[in-house]
């Protein structure tokens, strides 16, 4: 065993059995890596700070389902305050949301499956801003198809806005009344739309059951119809020998005198510290958690944080700032029915256009609005400024009848370009339940993004009119994010301007990898999970192919 720079690791209460790879985080990317590495015969240990969750924990089958959003299944960890959650502090226009547990964000995600545009990998070349990725769409094509199969995606291929892809494994989920109404509006305007692809099974497929349309996807699917790694990846990973340790909050990744990482130090639920030795460390804790952990792992050799010779760890945070246009129609649309993925989407305004006063673009997607409590809440949000009488008292039932079952939402997610000062830091005074510094978020929505969102909202109101809307309800930028955190450990070919190389290996530490959304060079406007999982698979494939040359402690 190598000699580590901090002597106290030899005095740990317990020290785990040496593994070839330790993965930190059992979410989208960590699960892909664990399953693939275990299948290839690697000894894998995954450390996850949260717990297993499943249908017994989900409230979607109970009448109180909508209330579940307020706390136990609130997507905002600061509101949820679970034992596995760490506080997010700071002054941010948009504060990240996330779930900490087996499956990570994919426990609560809406399962929208959206590959990046081909142009997203060449933003500098095409549009003169940000940076190109060191890989292309073609480098991910095979992995996109494989993870779509693993995730039982339901969708329709052939979207002309995207490169040609293999067919999805399941037919698309019906677009429903709301998708039809929205599509007809887009058709009248001659704008792009396509039936939504979702990692929700339209029929029984592999480990998933067929969707039952409960519409409670984002508090966990009680029908096991939505893809989440506890169903799609961990059964095979564990069968192949991968070991998953839950309740393991990683505190630090120590380095030896040669600058190699040797494993991970974590604290269990009882506060007992452990050291899990490994030849390779893979960080998969999302773009906030991974950056936080690298900064926590500062040492005499890496005084600004592990793998941070570029100074970019934690910087360039991207979050897809999000606005909504809720479309209210006269005809009943049964719009409490799920699934709560994307019925249809549009990439009409996702590319740069020379006539617009902003660069890059936004993706739109149509979603249902949930039950009556959500409908009233949306109405209240939109009409709050008109005073009490607009929503409550004599107007309550009129307002509720207007929106409930008669409305749907155009969600508009903007491509926020990477900004140096949008970042993750360690909070100097707030700590999590393990005594570790909270993640401090500094994030401003740029002028380019605001103009982009204003333009797209105006177009969505126009589309709503063509869909026969009697009214629309427009929201400003959501102050809590949509769970897309990207860019804080970007990949690139130049060690001075990137944290990891094209294979997502640290430029500074040859046996340290980052495989989550932190490696995104730009964010595109697509929901990132498809790309996060495909990239993780690409990276792990390469790691397996080149295992004989992997440097280890």
């Amino acid at each position: 065993m190598a000699i580590f720079s901090k002597v106290y690791y030899f005095n740990m209460v317990t020290q785990g059995h040496q593994s070839e790879v330790v993965i930190i985080g059992a979410g989208a990317s960590g699960s892909v890596a664990a399953a693939r590495l275990a299948a290839a015969g690697f000894e894998v240990v995954c450390l996850e700070q949260g717990d297993w969750v499943g249908p017994a924990d989900y409230m979607g089958a109970q009448p109180e389902a909508e209330l579940a959003w307020i706390e136990r299944w609130n997507p905002d960890p600061n509101a949820r305050r679970g034992m596995a959650d760490y506080p997010l502090t700071g002054d941010a226009d948009v504060r990240p949301v996330m779930y900490n547990g087996v499956g990570g964000g994919l426990v609560q995600w809406a399962a929208m499956w959206q590959p990046l545009l081909a142009s997203d990998f060449r933003v500098r070349t095409l549009d003169g801003v940000a940076d190109d990725w060191p890989i292309s769409w073609g480098d991910l094509a095979d992995a996109y198809a494989r993870v779509a199969g693993d995730m039982s995606v339901s969708g329709l291929g052939g979207d002309p806005a995207l490169p040609e892809m293999n067919p999805y494994p399941n037919p698309p989920i019906p677009i429903g009344k709301i998708g039809r109404v929205a599509a007809e509006g887009m058709d009248r305007l001659g704008w792009h739309w396509w039936p939504g692809a979702n990692a929700i099974a339209s029929r029984r497929h592999r480990s998933l059951q067929a969707c039952q349309r409960r519409g409670t996807c984002m508090t966990g699917c009680p029908e096991n119809a939505k893809a989440t790694p506890s169903l799609t990846h961990w059964p095979s990973a564990q069968s192949a020998g991968a070991r998953l340790v839950t309740g393991a909050r990683v505190m630090e990744i120590p380095v030896d005198k040669r600058g190699r990482v040797g494993g991970a130090v974590y604290r269990d639920r009882d506060g007992v510290e452990h050291f899990q030795p490994a030849q390779v460390v893979m960080l998969a804790a999302n773009a906030v958690g991974t950056a936080r952990l690298l900064l926590l792992s500062a040492s005499s050799r890496f005084p600004d944080g592990l793998a941070n010779s570029s100074g970019l760890v934690g910087r360039r945070l991207m979050q897809h700032p999000y606005r909504t246009v809720t479309v209210v129609c006269e005809d009943p649309l049964d719009s409490w029915q799920g699934p709560w993925g994307q019925n249809i989407y549009s990439l009409e305004f996702a590319e740069t256009h020379p006539d617009r006063d902003f660069i890059r673009g936004a993706k739109w997607m149509v979603m249902p609005h949930g039950g009556p409590m959500f409908a009233v809440a949306e109405y209240q949000e939109a009409h709050r400024h008109e005073g009490f009488e607009a929503v409550w008292g004599a107007n309550f039932h009129r307002a509720a009848a207007e929106v409930f079952g008669h409305s749907f939402t155009w969600g508009i997610q903007a491509e926020d370009l990477p900004e140096y000062d949008n970042r993750v830091l360690l909070d100097p005074s707030v700590h999590d339940s393990s005594g570790l510094p909270a993640a401090r978020i500094e994030y401003r929505v740029s002028e380019n993004t605001r103009r982009m969102l204003d333009f797209n909202v105006a177009r969505a109101v126009e589309a709503a009119g063509e869909s026969g809307a009697v009214t629309t309800m427009v929201r400003d930028v959501w102050p809590t994010g949509i769970g897309h955190v990207l860019g804080t450990t970007r990949m690139g070919n130049d060690p001075e301007s990137s944290v990891v190389d094209r294979w997502c290996r640290s430029h500074d530490v040859p046996n340290l990898y980052v495989i989550d959304g932190g490696v995104f060079v730009t964010g595109g406007s697509a929901n990132p999970t498809a790309t996060i999982m495909a990239n993780a698979l690409r990276v792990v494939d390469h790691m397996i192919e080149t295992r004989v040359s992997q440097e280890v402690p």
């Binding site: 081909a118 058709d187 396509w194 009556p372 409590m373 009233v376 809440a377 009490f388 409550w392 309550f396």
Partner: protein, 139 residues
Amino acid sequence: MGSSEPTPAQRLTLARLADILVPEGLGMPAATTVGVAGDLLDRSLAAAPSFFEPLLALLDDVPDDGLDAFVRRLEVERPDDFAVLSTTVVAAYYLSEDVRELIGYPGQQPNPLSVAAEPDYLDLLERVYERHPGYRECL
């Protein structure tokens, strides 16, 4: 450590406030008619226990008279408290089976997908395909 459920006095206060927010009208019953301050309140607080303490503290702070003005002031001056009150009332109201029946809402019930062999929107989609310029070439 406080009580594990609202007192009768607190329930009475909630009922008076709830009927200001959600009165009878348009063929719909008032909040208290369906029992918002009773079992439905308990179910709501069980699902959202973080509301328990702030709601009860608020109910203890309500004046005997001038409730209409109090609620309106609450919305403007104490929006967090108003959110706890109004969310609890609305959630409890829509837990009522009678209310759900009146608005035609069965709850988030299972309703199996029916996947057609050929979707009925292919004509619209064909037009998307015909008019789209294709993705920006940069592979």
